[in-house]
Every structure is written in structure tokens, then in C-alpha cells.
Symmetry: C2
């Protein structure tokens, strides 16, 4: 179901308008970027694609592996739980997509990425840089979990509005670009008294609307400059438009919305952005509450893990030795331990991490060998990070269903025969 | 140019016949696996594709990013030097392809990879395993440089026969599978007195020929079991046929030919394989010499590095600050240091590694900031590994042009204005 069709008319005012626009923007993307990429997979009209049939990929993401993806809408595309491999890094063509507004449509974005310009302000010597210029300033490659704030929303019992992601609005990828600190060095450092790093996306704003209701602009605490980069590559390839190319700010450890795509302006500011997406969206608003800037912002990610194998509800697992595997992330510190339960959380045993450790912002693969008898089994996992935080049994309730890291919600029920 | 067309009739006997067959197999692959993947890129007949025009990708590798690849022949496809990113891991769709014989054509390989069977012998309890069974035995993900033995052959002055690779018959990827040691544990361990691990590929052998002249079977010292895996995933996706799927043995640190594709038989043996590809091919034969089993085998890779940016001969680099970047590998131990020279090797300065350290078998990204004045500059790099080996100035000469790690050969000449 699309966001638009799911609960039509439920939201009012700016929030509703923004959502309407996001969806409209999505339809513009289907049309404006070449329409349907895979005409053989179903109806060509996105309006007709509602219902149980799989939706085709939108053209700007037509290079994704269709069999690995769930297309919720043109702007919300999820990785199937069974499509995560055990290779730590999520291939670009299996990585989720989530846009708040349709991507910009200027063909130069794709053809001449090095000429994209970024304005930098709130610094000693404000100026703009082309991507080509940024490429001379420094280089960093950062393996990290990219995860939508709403990943796991599907399990909130009050059914928050928004895409009903399960686990697949996340991936572990390597972004490459220039450290924000190297850019700061080139502009004489930050101006005095700045508290936030504020990034503005290059999406096209429809005329006649208050930009603050539309624009994608997010502020994060200034401490994020330590590891943030301005990225032009994803997994060793030029950053695709679908993921924010030609230039995206990457804030490791923070939810995806904070890593602004097609970044046009990087500002160091004393206040948070006045944009709605900062002021009232992406907040820890209580269930049923009115969104308010006084609610805590959705910024850092917490410890989390889930099982990917076995996880296919249509699959019957053969009795005997079963290798259970999945991913564990620590959030702002590394995942330290991972436990697995084969009886719905009654008993836990420590599992082993396998494969390379790509640093604190990446996830780890884990594996656990279990003997499973015929019957139904509830497989769960819970991670603990270097800070000592253990993944909780229950989600932290909030109105829009952000940041679900409940191990119980992520449990897998498998049939063994 | 194809291998066949390059030096027609130069080789005689088995060597010539094998090459003829490999090339014929390549043509069979073009036809048998669906012909030309991108009919829009040029002539549809591979026989007509000789000459300066870019050749299209063969169908079995049609999913590669055509703009990133140099198609030497249907079985030899190179990554362009300018197509390596700085993200450490080479995306699968930019990874080189090199097959000695055309891939097997059974469609079940792709559709039912879990039913592929592997025979294991030279162990206490010989038996066969399906891939599905192997997946219950253990899990490992290994980041590593995959590199063709002949990478860099282009620079040997005696112009050895074989594909004229420069740097692009290499990539750093993550293979995922089961450790060979875990399989050995499941079969009661190795039989007594075994000295080699011998792997046999599942390629189809044409009737009427001595299999030893055709079959792809390689032996490596038994010490390789420490880190070897049987892999079913490449970079988090099911292992493609073009890279040896459904199952490939991966021998980290060894040249690519030792990691046998479509493996059907894993044997622990007292002798090296009688196959020609073991006995006389892939040997350190002196230039002009007759290949002999007494020549050392091409097994372990040495320390090596090269610059990827800037490396485009058609590009004029802007004078001023230039970020020079590339990759450095240690071979059997990790790369420890990397030096850069901007004057053809007269002076050297240590450069910095950037990005994650993925372990001793992976390469590291490095970056070096230089001020370059207008003119022509010779940019070089040389790596030193943890064992203390430094990349030499000169290649080790050998008849077939294997294992070129000369820093001088890999130097880049750039125009600055």
C-alpha cells in the first residue's frame, strides 16, 4: 500500500499536506524520470498498482534487483528479509530507498556529478565548492548501517501512519567522500557559537508553497562532525540519484533522514532548521500526541539485531542442524555480543560474530548452530553494544513508530519438519 | 583483441589446443547462453567484434556495468582502471571475469543452486554434500583480493601470449560460505599423508579429448585449508555463474586460478593434479623456456599496489592540490605501509591508508595529497607488507607473464595544466 492510499485524509494541516506532496512527488517521479522501469511486472499506472500484486520499481530505481525488493511506493522500497546475504555489505542493488520528496530531475545531476555545487556557511570563510573541488580536500570510506527512522514500524500496535517497514529499510554500506572536518579546515573553521550542523537537500520545491513545509533540511548536534562525510560514492560506485547522488551528507550512527541527499547547503547554525521535517516530524512524540519541537529529535540509532536466516514464512526448515544467522548493530558504539534464543526468549545463548569487523557504525554478521526438532520454533536474537546497552524486549512507543529495536517484534517463527 | 586472434597458430600441441578450446568454449558461451547481452553496443557476431570498437559483454556477464569494463573476449573481461572507486570493496558488477573454459550451461545451476553437489574425498569418511547441506556446517565471510595470475601481463616486454591485462584483472570482494575446516570436521578429518588440496571444476568436457588437457583442476599446498572456504555468495548476493556459482572454492591470498569455479570435487591428495593446467600451465617458466612441472607453481600473491586516481590518459588534471589514491595489498600478509612518488620513483613519501581495514587478504585504499605544477608527472606507489616485503621496481620475468608487481610498470603519467 502506498502511504497515500493507506489512510486517506487521516492527517490534516501541514502534516497531511506534506504527505500528499511527498506522494504526488512520487508520482511525478514515476512520470518525470521515465515512468515504469519494468513494464513486464505489472500495471504501468502507479495508481492502478495498489492491491496484492507486486508493484514495479520506479524508473529512477529501476537498476535495483526487483526480486529482492518490496515496492511500497515510488519513494519507499524495502529489501526483503530473505534477500540480505551474509556478506556484511548490502549490495547497492538490494539497498532500500526512502525519499521524503521526489528526487531532483535535472539530467546534469547524473551526467556531470562533479559540477554539482555545495554552499558552506556558518564558517569563517563561507564559500561554495563543486564536487570536483571537494574531491581534492580529503578522502574517507565509512562502512555504516543506513537505516530509515521508521524501520520496524510495522510492529507498532497502534499502526502509525507511514510505510509499514519490517526489517528491510536498512542496509550496511560503504560511503566514500570527504570528511566534513577536512571541508571545515578549508574554510577556516566553524564560526563561533554554532550548535548544529544543518544540511539542505536539492529537491525541487513547488512554487507557491511555504518552503518550510516541504524542504528536506535537517539539523544534527555539532558533535556529528567528528565522523560525518560528504559522500559521492556508495559501495565503490558513483552515488546513484536514488541514494542522494551526486552528493550526500552522511552522518554515521544517525537514522537515514539525517543524511541529507543531493545536499546543496551545509550550514553550521545556532538553531535547528525551521523546516517542518525538523520541527515536528521525526520526533519522539507520544502516541496520539501533537507533534512538538519540544519532543526529542530522532537522531542517534540504538542497539539492534535481527535474524535473516531462516526467515522465509513460506519455507519449511529441515529438522536437525540449522544455522541461524543475522545482523547486529550497536548504534553509536560497536555491537559487542549477540545472543540467540530458539524458544521465544525463554533461554538465551551467546552466538558468534562471523566475517569482518568494519567498525563501530557497521553491523556484524552472526551465526548460531541449533538442533531443531520438528515443530514450530520462535527464533529471537538480542544484541548488546560496547556502551552496555542491550536490545530491549519491548519497543519504545511513539506516535509515528520510529526506531523500533524490540527483540520480540523482530522474532521469527519457523516451521521445522 | 581475443586471445585467439592475437597470435594465431603461435602455440602448438596441448597448449595451443587448450587455448583453441577455451576460445571456442567462449564462442559457445556467446551462443549457448543467449548470445549478445547488449545488442545496442556493437556487432552481434563475436567474430566480427575484433578491431578498435568496444566489444559487447557476453550474455552470462551481461549484468556487468558495461561502461566500467573492457571486454577482451567472452571469457576475459577487465575492470577499467578509472572504474575502481575508493570504497575498498569492488562491486560485483565491476569485477573482472576470467574463465579458462566456458562456464557450464545447465540452467539448474542458476535456478536450483542449493542442489548442486560437491564430492569430498581423501578424508576419513568420503561423501558428497549438496550446497544446502554445506550451509548447515558453518559460515564465514572473507574480504579478499581476487586477482588473475596474469594481471599486469601487458607490461612484460616479451609480450607473452594471453590476455593483455593491465591492472583490472583484480578486485577486492567479500566471499561468503563454509570454512573448508568445518567441512573436514564433518567428514572425520583428512586421510593420512595428504599434501595438497585439489579442486575440480564442473565445466563440461568435450567428448573425445583427454580430460587432463581440458579440465580445470588445481592443487594447492595443504596449508591453504586454514583460510579456504567453499563460497556461495559474492558481496552479499548469490554467487553468479560468471564468478563460479553455485559453489566456488576460495583460497585467499592465492591467484584466482587456484579458486576453482563450479567446484564438483574437493580432494585431499598426495600428488598435484595431473591436469595440464596444474602440470605445465601457471608455472614460473623462464622466458622462452619449455613449461615443466619442475618450475614453481603460481600460487601465492606478492605485495602490490597501484594508483587509480588520477589515471585517465585522456584527462588533464588541474594544477594545484591533487588527491592521488589507489589500492595496496600485502599478499599473504597485510599491507603495512604505502609510499607515493610524484617524480617517477626518485623521491618517495609515505601516504595514508583510508577507510576500513578488512583483514590481511583485502586491499587497503590509500590517499596522498600533492601539489602538482603544470607539466607531465610520473606518479608511482609502492607497498610494503607485514612480512617486510617491498614491492620491487622490476617485474619477475617469466614466460607467460604472471604476477607482475613492478611499481615501475604500474606507474601513471599524468598531464597537469
Amino acid at each position: 500500500m502506498t502511504e497515500l492510499s493507506k489512510e486517506p485524509g487521516k492527517e490534516l494541516g501541514n502534516a497531511g499536506r506534506r504527505r500528499m506532496l511527498a506522494s504526488t512527488g512520487g508520482m511525478m517521479a514515476w512520470a518525470g524520470l521515465g515512468g515504469i522501469a519494468r513494464a513486464d511486472t505489472g500495471a504501468a499506472d502507479p495508481g492502478a498498482a495498489a492491491g496484492p500484486a507486486a508493484k514495479p520499481l520506479p524508473a529512477y530505481a529501476g537498476w535495483k534487483d526487483a526480486d529482492s525488493m518490496i515496492v511500497h511506493s515510488a519513494n519507499t522500497i524495502e529489501t526483503k528479509r530473505t534477500a540480505f546475504g551474509n556478506g556484511v555489505i548490502t549490495p547497492a542493488n538490494r539497498l532500500f530507498v526512502r525519499n521524503n520528496v521526489a528526487p531532483p530531475t535535472d539530467p546534469a545531476l547524473v551526467k556531470e556529478p562533479d559540477s554539482w555545487t555545495l554552499e558552506v556557511s556558518g564558517v569563517a570563510e563561507p564559500r561554495s565548492f563543486t564536487v570536483a573541488e571537494l574531491k581534492t580536500l580529503g578522502l574517507a570510506a565509512v562502512p555504516m548501517v543506513l537505516q530509515c527512522s521508521g524501520n520496524g514500524r510495522n510492529w507498532f500496535p497502534h499502526k502509525p501512519s507511514g510505510t509499514q517497514w519490517t526489517v528491510g529499510a536498512a542496509g550496511c554500506v560503504i560511503f566514500t567522500g570527504v570528511p566534513v572536518k577536512a571541508v571545515l579546515e578549508a574554510v577556516g573553521g566553524m564560526a563561533d557559537g554554532m550548535v548544529y550542523m544543518t544540511s539542505t537537500g536539492g529537491e525541487e520545491i513547488p512554487a507557491g508553497l511555504d518552503p518550510n513545509t516541504i524542504k528536506v533540511e535537517r539539523s544534527v548536534p555539532i558533535s556529528a562532525i567528528e565522523d560525518a562525510i560528504l559522500a559521492w560514492e556508495l559501495n565503490g560506485q558513483p552515488l546513484p540519484l536514488a541514494h542522494g547522488g551526486p552528493l550526500r551528507i552522511i552522518v554515521p550512527g544517525y537514522t537515514g533522514v539525517n543524511s541529507i541527499k543531493y545536499i546543496k547547503h551545509l550550514a553550521f547554525t545556532k538553531e535547528q532548521s525551521p523546516a517542518k521535517i525538523q520541527q515536528t516530524s521525526y520526533r519522539w512524540t507520544p502516541v496520539g500526541g501533537k507533534p512538538s519541537p519540544s519532543d526529542d529529535a530522532i537522531w542517534e540509532m540504538p542497539v539492534k539485531s535481527w535474524i535473516n536466516f531462516p526467515s522465509d514464512p513460506d519455507q519449511t526448515v529441515q529438522a536437525g542442524r540449522v544455522l541461524i544467522s543475522g545482523v547486529a548493530m550497536g548504534g553509536m558504539t560497536a555491537a559487542k555480543t549477540i545472543e540467540v534464543s530458539v524458544n521465544g526468549g525463554k533461554d538465551w545463548q551467546e552466538a558468534a560474530f562471523v566475517g569482518p569487523d568494519l567498525g563501530k557504525y557497521a553491523w556484524r554478521e552472526f551465526a548460531f548452530s541449533a538442533e531443531l526438532a520438528p515443530g514450530t520454533h520462535e527464533l529471537a536474537c538480542r544484541a548488546t553494544n560496547e556502551a552496555g546497552d542491550t536490545q530491549p524486549e519491548e519497543r519504545r512507543e511513539n506516535n509515528r513508530g520510529y526506531i523500533n529495536n524490540s527483540w520480540r517484534d523482530h522474532m521469527v517463527v519457523v516451521k521445522v519438519a
